[in-house]
Structure formats: structure tokens, C-alpha cells
Amino acid sequence: MNKKRILSACLKALFVGIVLFFLYLPILLLAVYSFDKTNMIGRFEGFSLTHYAQLFADPKVLNMIGNTFLLAFLAALLSTVLGTLGALGMFYCKKRLRTAINGVSQIPVINAEIVTALALAVTFVAVGIGKSYFTLLIGHMVICTPFVVLSVIPKLKQMDNSLYEAALDLGASPAKALFTVVLPQIIPGVLSGFMLAVTLSLDDYIVTMYTRPTGFETISTYVYNATTKGNAHTAVTLSSFWALTTILFMVILLFVLVSNLTGFKKKEARK
């Protein structure tokens, strides 16, 4: 019996291990070759930081990296404000109205991204406002805000509603009660909504592609164009993406480690 249990534990670990191996194989491959001298994957000629130097020497590449992060930050910030207010308001609406708003709010979540993107692009051009940074920002907000709402609502449901009433009874104005009593209780949901919005925006290709002004590039559009319409781009550009992938991976790893060491334990303890 004991042997059987050990065997099954080993098999389980093996299975999870294999899946993880495949998940990390492509990234690790790029990470290793990003430190290689040559542009060829497959032969390791010697350690060098050429690809990193290339990455930081190309102003176009630096520009698109800056664009991506600034856009993600702005879109996430606006989505978080809009989504948190929306979730709060919805929570206090009558049930039928709440269901209606919630239903519409989920359309961008379940809809194919390309349909959302096309609909927005056609609308912007049809009403004559064309495409600008503003429309790009709106596009990103359309895909991010519903997720903010989704992460705030559970926190509202867990909240003790009588605290708000108590604050009013004790003479706080509704605005003050919202800020000092309700907001602190839902802040974990607001923050995870913000993080989610950042990752959604950073990851996005399709909506960006359809709503961006001409000439505006993010990491997604730039890499996509460089790899599919490869003629104009040299192996140098492609190998600088190895370095970019590695840097992003390292940053994420660091971020997760830090947040793990600081915040995660508390969260687990609460469960």
C-alpha cells in the first residue's frame, strides 16, 4: 500500500514536471541564447551581451517598450477608477438594473477580442473621430475595465454593510464614509483589478492593432510585424527580442519573488 502511494506521488510529480518543462523550454532557450555572441540559435559560441546592447541601442525598440508600459499604466489607472466606481454603483442598484449593467459589462469579457476590436475601429472611423492615442486608450479600457469590476464585486459582497450606515449615523458625509469606510475594505480587489488590467493591456495585440494611430508601436505590434513580415527586419532585430524576452521574464520573476516574500503569506493565512 505504501509503495503504491509513493509510486502515485512520483507519477503525479513527473506529470506536473513534464508540463512545466514544456512551458518553460522556449523561454529558457531564448534566455540561454540571448547571452550568445551570434545570431544563431543552436550553437553557443561564447558569452556576450551583444543582444542586450543591440536592444538598448535601437531607438525604435526603446520607444515601443516605453509606449507599451505607459499605455498599460494609463489604461489600467483609468480602468481601475472607472471600474471601481462602476462596481460600487452597480452593487447598490436594484437587482434588475444591476443584472442589466453586469450583462453588458461582460460582453467584452466573453466576446472574441477581434470582434470588440473591429467594432470599435469601425465605429471610430465611421463617426469621424479617426484613430488616435485616445481611441487606443479607449480600446484598452474596454478590455480592462470589466475585469476590474469582476475583481471588485466579490470584495463588496464580503463587506459588512452596516459599517457604512454606522459611519453616516456618526455624522460622516456619504463621500467621506465611502472613502474612509468602504474603500479600505475593497482595496485588495481594486489593487488586483489594477494588476490584472496592467497585464491585459501589456499582453494585448488585437485591440491595439485596430485602434492605434498610424506609426504607434507597442511590443506586441512591433514583434508581430518583425516576425511575420520579416523582410525589412534583420536577424539583429530578431535576436534583440531574445534579450527582451529574457529581461521581461527576469523582471516578472523578481516581482513574483518579492511579492511572495512580502504579501503572499498574509493572504494564505487569511484563507
Partner: protein, 269 residues
């Protein structure tokens, strides 16, 4: 001057306005474009053309098959992973779950690019020449790779919610390990399966980034179609989008709604 009485409901006004302008109106606009011709007269030509054009219909069938295979493979990999993790007694199992989610935070296109490079390596130096032309295989592999976390997360969350005493009760009543799995775990994890399937099936039918970057431009899926029409024929493009929209809502309705909270991309991690 007296301000109107503050009501907490009014807080949702900006969001409602936003939804009307940027979600409802765009849907109405593509509905309008889908049923008009280039002179903006009501017409059903797009509709008829769409359903009578064999290349369009075959693209849809191809996309459906690719999406179906991707979904089934993802489910076959994700279900055991989620089950093992959810029932594991390890204290640090959330770290392992984190490892599955982590690659998702690298830019999507860069991830697909990483797989592209891996396949290049395997086909040129790894002696796997057949890979060079295995466009459908590479596309499906890339999609499974990219969408796997969307399948694992909802499955894991639903399985974690299953009361462990149910397993004990099942064993006490004489059920074998397999019977417990089949009659307790599987039915109770169904909401997670549904969410996961929706989260994987739809993007794999429409997200043409993977098929373009890995399929040597030989694999055309519905999403690419819309992209092609966007350049020259908005009316037909809108019609394709509209058909997709209907498919999405029908499937959501058929699978009995959508556990949006559980699929919020690891927000609740």
C-alpha cells in the same frame, strides 16, 4: 445652493455611459454595416454571400476543428494538473500554481515568438525536418502553450472548492478511487471545465497571431478573415464579426452561463 441628494447608485453613471458608447454602440454599428451595402442601403447580399461561399465556410470549419483540438488537448493536460495540485497536501502548492501562471505575464507575442524559435531550432538542427511544414501541428501546439493557464486556473479554483469530506464519504461508502473521481470530482468540477473551455475555445478560433507566426501563413482562421476584410470591405468584415458574435452568445447560453469570477486570469491568486 443645495446639492442634489447623494446616492451611491450614481457612482456607476460614468461606467454605464462608457459601456453604452464603447460596447453597445459599436455592436450596433457592426450590425448596421453587416446588413448594408457600400451605398449604405439595407441589403442581405453579405449574409447570402457569406453562407454560400465555400472558402468562407471551409475556413470556419477549419477554425472550429483547430479550436476543438486545442481545447481537448488543453483540457487533457490541464485537468490532471489542476486535480493533482488541488488535492495535493503540499503547503507551498500555490508556488507551483504560480509557476504555471508566470509565463502568461511575458508579452503574448514574445511568447509565441519563443515557440517559433524553438521550432526553428528543432527543425534545422534537431533533425526534426518534418516540423518545417507541420503548420497545423505547430499552430495547435502554440495555442495550447499559450492558453493552457486559462484552462488550469478555473479548473483549479473549482476543484479547490470541493469539500474534502465528500471524498471521505465516498470512500467510506465503499467507492473505489476511480468511482470517487468519476462520480464526485468530475461532476463537481464541471463549472470549471465550462469556464476553461470557453476561455480556450474562443481565442483559438479567432486569435490569428499564433496561426500567423507559427503556421507560415498557411493556416487561416476566422480571425484572420476579419483582418483581411478590415482593409477593404467593412460590410463583409462586419458580417463575419456578427456571425462570430452570435456563435459566442449561443455557446455561452448553451453552456449555461459563464463563471466570470473564476476566469479572471488569476486575479484571485
Amino acid at each position: 445652493m443645495k446639492l442634489p441628494r447623494f446616492s451611491r447608485k450614481t457612482l456607476c453613471i460614468p461606467y454605464v455611459v462608457f459601456l453604452i458608447f464603447f460596447v453597445i454602440v459599436p455592436m450596433l454599428v457592426i450590425l448596421f454595416y453587416a446588413f448594408t451595402d457600400s451605398e449604405m442601403r439595407i441589403s442581405f447580399t453579405n449574409f447570402i454571400q457569406f453562407f454560400s461561399d465555400p472558402t468562407k465556410l471551409s475556413t470556419i470549419v477549419y477554425s472550429l476543428v483547430i479550436a476543438l483540438v486545442t481545447t481537448v488537448v488543453s483540457l487533457a493536460i490541464a485537468y490532471p494538473v489542476a486535480y493533482i495540485l488541488a488535492r495535493s497536501t503540499l503547503k507551498k502548492k500555490y508556488v507551483i500554481l504560480m509557476l504555471f501562471v508566470l509565463p502568461m505575464w511575458i508579452n503574448f507575442v514574445l511568447r509565441v515568438n519563443a515557440i517559433r524559435e524553438l521550432f526553428n531550432l528543432l527543425s534545422t538542427l534537431g533533425g526534426m525536418d518534418w516540423l518545417a511544414n507541420a503548420n497545423y501541428f505547430k499552430t495547435v501546439f502554440g495555442m495550447v502553450y499559450d492558453f493552457l493557464p486559462f484552462m488550469i486556473l478555473p479548473l483549479y479554483t473549482t476543484m479547490l472548492k470541493i469539500d474534502p469530506s465528500l471524498y471521505e464519504a465516498s470512500a467510506d461508502l465503499g467507492a473505489s478511487g476511480f468511482a470517487t473521481f468519476w462520480r464526485v470530482t468530475v461532476p463537481l468540477s464541471m463549472p470549471g471545465v465550462m469556464s476553461g473551455v470557453t476561455m480556450v475555445f474562443l481565442p483559438s478560433m479567432t486569435n490569428y497571431v499564433v496561426s500567423d507566426m507559427l503556421g507560415n501563413a498557411k493556416v487561416t482562421i476566422v480571425g484572420k478573415f476579419i483582418y483581411d476584410y478590415f482593409g477593404n470591405d467593412w460590410h463583409m468584415g462586419s458580417m463575419v464579426a456578427l456571425v462570430l458574435l452570435v456563435v459566442v452568445f449561443l455557446s455561452t447560453w448553451l453552456t449555461g452561463g459563464f463563471q466570470a469570477e473564476e476566469t479572471a486570469r488569476g486575479a484571485n491568486l
